[in-house]
């Protein structure tokens, strides 16, 4: 079995199984816990519902914190959007997603894919530079660094595979797929789960503050 066969076959296969089982395990393990009840009378009878808008409004820092969070916000936006575009926008990825789900859509030209992938990588590097330069602010732990590394690796290997840098294409492709497999395995157990938690976390706070008539 060649490395590419291993990557495309059992490696990505098992990583997907772990990803799906792990994510659902962690989500339900938390969400099925008891819900605390706030019995106090809401300020406005239908006001609590407004709390859900925090899920959306918190996507951008309020004016109060714009300056303090500008660098991170911009870099994080570049990173998240660029990564998302690359993940769902280039042909090989669409092919992979199609083999999983059956859904397919038109792809971006490669030059654009490479450019956006580079933006994703650069913004990710910009974020780690800041994390490294301000240890007091970030209170980083080993998990933060592992997560960064595992997110950066697929970007680097993907770009290398495309640009034919390093080992032969099929080896690089295999390394790329393996790096994604490792990322998938790490995902459910790491802070990457914030891609799910953010909805619940924001909604909870939004509701609890809206209960008191405060818009956050």
């Amino acid at each position: 079995m060649s490395l590419l066969e291993f990557a495309r076959g059992p490696a990505i296969h098992w990583s997907l199984i772990i990803l799906v089982a792990g994510v659902i395990w962690r989500l339900l393990g938390v969400l099925v816990l008891t819900r605390g009840a706030d019995l106090s009378r809401p300020r406005d009878a239908f006001g609590n519902f407004k709390g859900y808008r925090t899920v959306f409004s918190r996507s951008w820092p309020s004016g109060e914190f714009t300056t303090a969070t500008r660098y991170q916000t911009i870099m994080a936006y570049f990173f998240h959007i660029a990564t998302l575009i690359v993940v769902v926008g280039i042909t090989p990825h669409i092919e992979f997603i199609q083999s999983l789900t059956g859904a397919s859509w038109p792809a971006l030209p490669n030059a654009l894919g490479v450019a956006i992938g580079t933006i994703a990588l650069v913004s990710l590097i910009a974020l780690i530079m800041r994390r490294l330069s301000k240890p007091k602010v970030y209170c980083s732990n080993i998990g933060d660094y592992i997560t960064w590394l595992l997110v950066a690796t697929p970007l680097v290997t993907g770009l290398m595979a495309f640009a034919h840098i390093g080992p032969r294409y099929e080896t690089m492709l295999a390394i790329h797929i393996l790096s994604v497999a490792v990322l998938f395995v790490w995902f459910p157990f790491s802070k990457l789960m914030h891609s799910f938690w953010f909805i619940f976390s924001r909604a909870q706070s939004g509701l609890s503050y809206a209960h008191k008539g405060v818009r956050i």
Binding site: G29, V30, L33, D38, S40, E64, K136, S205, V214
Partner: protein, 463 residues
């Protein structure tokens, strides 16, 4: 203050109140109860408390943190000191460890890879959840995940109550309220004495223990043992409004050291007699004294079912604001530029923003908002019992400078607060920094600017 100048100074100025209070706080440390349980039991109780208080909400918040560090920009203690340990995200680390080891979805794994909690961990936690977090919730405003760090800190305070690790000053008051039902000795007898003093010297009548009344008013220990002006002002305002009001001697204390220390059962226990008294007299409205944390302790008490209560609970500033909006509060214009500091517990974590501003508007105040106003208001640094902690003096003093700069930036000559704890902290900051601003309590300011006062108040003394 013009009215008082003509009277015998029965009550001290607030500066004197503050100095006297500081002395009393000093004594608290000796009165603090000593731990009675073994180390293992204390740790176990702390962990069990966290387990018992963890719902899906807390779990989600603990799971969500991505260490992005943005909360540090919001926290006054971090901004004032620049010390990494005061980063809000670190104030939930121990809780997360307990959560991951005890009830998290992968707890069997985390039991293997994380250290068990030791008493020393809890001792170190004390500074993080008492001294350096006023549960002001400002970090929630910036957190991209919207994590309610303040509530997580509060649960850890509960755990430290169980572990007998409450800081001495809070522990002493907690013990006093728990075992004697008083704070600084502010018993029903003290209330009666203060009521008599106010009647005798100022001719202001305070109706105590009326069998039935529309409005039930609370007082607080600070007013009863030190700042009589607070209760006096409250009485003047209520009399001015001409409402059917009373103070109940079996339920008058706003302050709640159950909430401040984190003792949920004491919190509840302190609330019960107040609710019972209000129900008994058929009150429609319960007015909470200017004591910031009493607002969440009563109005937002999650354990008291609001639907079952036949009355509304409002904060003093909220009540006056409503009256002002209805045009029932007749106030003379106030001079000078004025700004208002929202106490965390009534503002960001209470939602009473508009009412105090309506009161100031009714005084035709040249009002100016703080640069970071309303939901984004900086905490004064003394909230959630921190004002009482001697150990937290440096943190308080340093973080107050943020507040000081905020007020200076407005160019106002007076900063109005509506919370005894904020006011004490402002007073401390004013004295230490030789600050040229005046710090005023909203209710006392209103009492000073009442026009067309009912005959019962004031006239008798002047005659």
């Amino acid at each position: 203050m013009s009215t008082q100048a003509t009277m015998t100074p029965v009550f001290p100025t607030f500066e004197q109140v503050f100095q006297g209070f500081a002395g009393q706080i000093g004594m608290l440390r000796q009165m603090a109860p000593k731990p009675t349980l073994t180390d293992d039991v204390r740790v176990e109780r702390a962990i069990d408390t966290l387990i018992a208080e963890t719902n899906a909400d807390e779990a989600v918040w603990l799971e969500s943190c991505i260490h992005c560090g943005q909360c540090t920009t919001a926290c006054h203690y971090f901004q004032a000191t620049g010390e990494s340990k005061y980063a809000p995200m670190r104030k939930m680390e121990l809780y997360r460890r307990v959560y991951q080891r005890e009830i998290g979805p992968f707890r069997w794994w985390y039991k293997l890879i994380t250290r068990p909690i030791k008493l020393q961990d809890l001792e170190e936690l004390q500074e993080l959840v008492y001294d350096s977090c006023s549960e002001c919730g400002r970090c929630t405003m910036v957190c991209p995940m919207g994590i309610d760090t303040a509530s997580l800190v509060h649960h850890q305070r509960s755990a430290l109550v169980a572990a007998e690790l409450v800081p001495p000053e809070l522990a002493a008051l907690h013990a006093e309220q728990k075992h004697m039902g008083t704070i600084f000795g502010a018993s029903a007898a003290a209330l009666m004495k203060m009521v008599d003093t106010i009647r005798d010297h100022y001719g202001v009548e305070i109706p105590v223990d009326k069998p039935a009344a529309e409005v039930m008013v609370l007082s607080s220990a600070v007013d009863l043992v030190a700042n009589g002006n607070g209760l006096l002002a409250t009485a003047k305002v209520m009399n001015h409004l001409g409402v059917d009001w009373t103070i109940c001697s079996d339920g008058f204390e706003s302050a709640n050291f159950g909430l401040l220390s984190g003792d949920m059962s004491l919190w509840k226990r302190q609330v019960d007699p107040i609710v019972a008294a209000a129900k008994r007299i058929g009150a429609k409205t319960l007015v909470i004294a200017e004591c910031g944390h009493a607002y969440p302790a009563l109005r937002w008490n999650p354990m008291v079912k609001g639907e079952d209560l036949p009355f509304d609970m409002v904060y003093m500033s909220e009540y006056m604001g409503r009256m002002a909006k209805e045009g029932r509060l007749k106030l003379s214009p106030i001079e000078g530029k004025i700004t208002y500091h929202d106490p965390c517990k009534t503002g960001r974590r209470g939602g009473a923003f508009d009412e105090p501003r309506a009161v100031l508007k009714a005084m035709d105040a040249d009002y100016v908002e703080l640069p970071s106003g309303r939901e984004y208001n900086w905490c004064c640094g003394g909230g959630a019992g921190i004002f009482l902690l001697e150990r937290a003096t440096r943190l308080r003093d340093e973080s107050f400078k943020i507040k000081l700069n905020q007020v200076n930036a407005t160019g106002a000559s007076t900063v109005v607060v509506s919370c005894a704890s904020c006011r004490l902290n402002f007073e401390a900051g004013r004295v230490k920094n030789h600050w040229d601003k005046e710090v005023a309590s909203l209710v006392e300011l209103v009492a000073d600017h009442l026009i067309d006062q009912p005959i019962a108040a004031g006239e008798g003394v002047r005659a």
